[in-house]
Symmetry: C2
């Protein structure tokens, strides 16, 4: 039986998602909590978006395969979409126990039996990130300082939006990726927009089928150079066309970045989508 | 010359607004920063809302009277509404210097020459607070844990809204106030509403001409008892009518509370409003 886990975390206290010996990571903490609560050993999570050190998540999704021996117990302790709520009426026994064990900077928001064919990583059709910037004193809110980048350079969001347009669609994003042997850097950028909120905060939304390493932060760094007026809007398209890491593009700090949501197709498309993703990722 | 200062802070690291020897307070920190930046001694702030330990602010307002000897220098270093921006073209020299001295949990958002008759405390016509509650796992966001109360009791926001209605208007709020000799507890509650946000967060908005000590947190505590179903909606009106601190009403925790905004009348009404407020507050 496969279980879907929706979670959020303040990335400031973690060395990213992926388990690493001796370091506090989201995967490490959550797997340890699952071991404790399920009284098993070696819980192994698969995740939709492997976030780097300092990157936050509100809408992270992971899955866990539960051994047959405890499947019935787990099924009774989680929300089962097919039956409405958890077996105890109030539902969410496992969710409450997990959150009781976890530190407050990591919270499970939902946990339930996954539909057939669901794979947190390969069934996902897109990942949506937000990058938050306060570029004026009025927009700096101490209550949000953990997840908003503060800069003293005022940004021209119209110029950033114009530069963003040229990056949309399917491209080889090698210019914005850290190179990895044998991995494709072709991605489809579905959304890249900049919104000035009423309180003055500038929020960038970046949505793609998938991202290569440091890609969102390199895209934001490139567009901030345009927003500051150091580069014109056409420069971003030129960097993209260069197809290799451009040293003029700086990778912005992690703490402004939050994984907001992961998109999945309808239940009857989950398995087919997982198959498609696996094929695409193995094409070099 | 009087200067108006708009500021925000994460109350978690402060023993409230008011200066206290040996304790880190917002007033203490900001006055010390003003002394440093203005090269004076004994800067004395007047504030719109004296927040308690742990209470946050996004829209706090204070004023400072500047001695004639440095008035010209200060006027050149702040935004002057009569001239558009600060004298250096970019404006806000003093704002940048203050924020350079202050810790990141306290930020000055605007600073400027105050219009004639302005008094941060007495010219204010209302104070608006928000109280944020996550009463379900899905609404618990680690990135907002500094300013959202988490409760495992699901709240019925419709029942809370119904109970809130009976408290609106001018009343003696002694039942929700800590008693203080010679001070009136008559206040006008202008707004008291509950909104369930799309992400599941429950946000209470409380707006009044002024508040007595712990009043917002006692109001929220009373309404949460209704929301949990421990009391019916009529109970809140009964508590109010009792006109004395009711031990059945618990004062909720401070960290869910944020001073969001202070309302002032048009410039030509500032002095008259200050006069009115002073008369009302001295009536026992």
């Amino acid at each position: 039986m496969r279980v879907r886990i929706d979670l959020g975390y303040d990335g400031g206290g973690f060395h990213g998602w992926a388990r690493q010996p001796g370091l506090r990571t989201v995967q490490g903490e959550l797997e340890r909590a699952l071991d404790t609560v399920l009284r098993v050993e070696g819980s192994l999570l698969t995740v939709a978006g492997r976030t780097d050190t300092g990157v936050h998540a509100r809408g992270q999704v992971a899955h866990l395969d539960v051994a047959d021996a405890i499947a019935d117990v787990v099924a009774d302790a989680v929300v089962d979409a097919r039956r409405g709520r958890g077996a105890d009426g109030a539902g969410d026994v496992l969710l409450r126990r997990l959150n009781g064990v976890l530190d407050p900077d990591l919270r499970v928001r939902r946990i339930g039996v996954a539909p057939t064919g669901f794979d947190a990583r390969f069934s996902a059709v897109w990942r949506r990130y937000a990058y938050r910037i306060a570029d004026r004193a009025e927009a700096v809110d101490p209550l949000r300082r953990s997840h908003v980048l503060v800069t003293s350079q005022p940004l021209d969001e119209a110029a950033m939006a114009a530069a963003s347009e040229a990056l949309l669609g399917e491209h080889d994003f090698a210019a914005f990726c850290r190179k990895r042997a044998g991995a494709t850097t072709i991605r489809t950028l579905l959304e890249l927009g900049w919104e000035r909120q009423p309180d003055g905060l500038l929020v960038g939304t970046v949505r793609a089928d998938a991202f290569c390493h440091s890609m969102v932060r390199a895209l934001v760094g490139c567009l901030m150079a345009v927003g500051e007026g150091r580069r014109d809007a056409a420069w971003a398209a030129g960097v993209l066309a260069g197809r290799q890491r451009d040293p003029a593009v700086s990778v912005v700090r992690a703490h402004g970045l939050t994984l907001e949501e992961v998109g999945y197709p309808a239940d009857d498309e989950l398995a087919r989508q997982a198959e498609r993703s696996r094929v695409v990722r193995t094409l070099g």
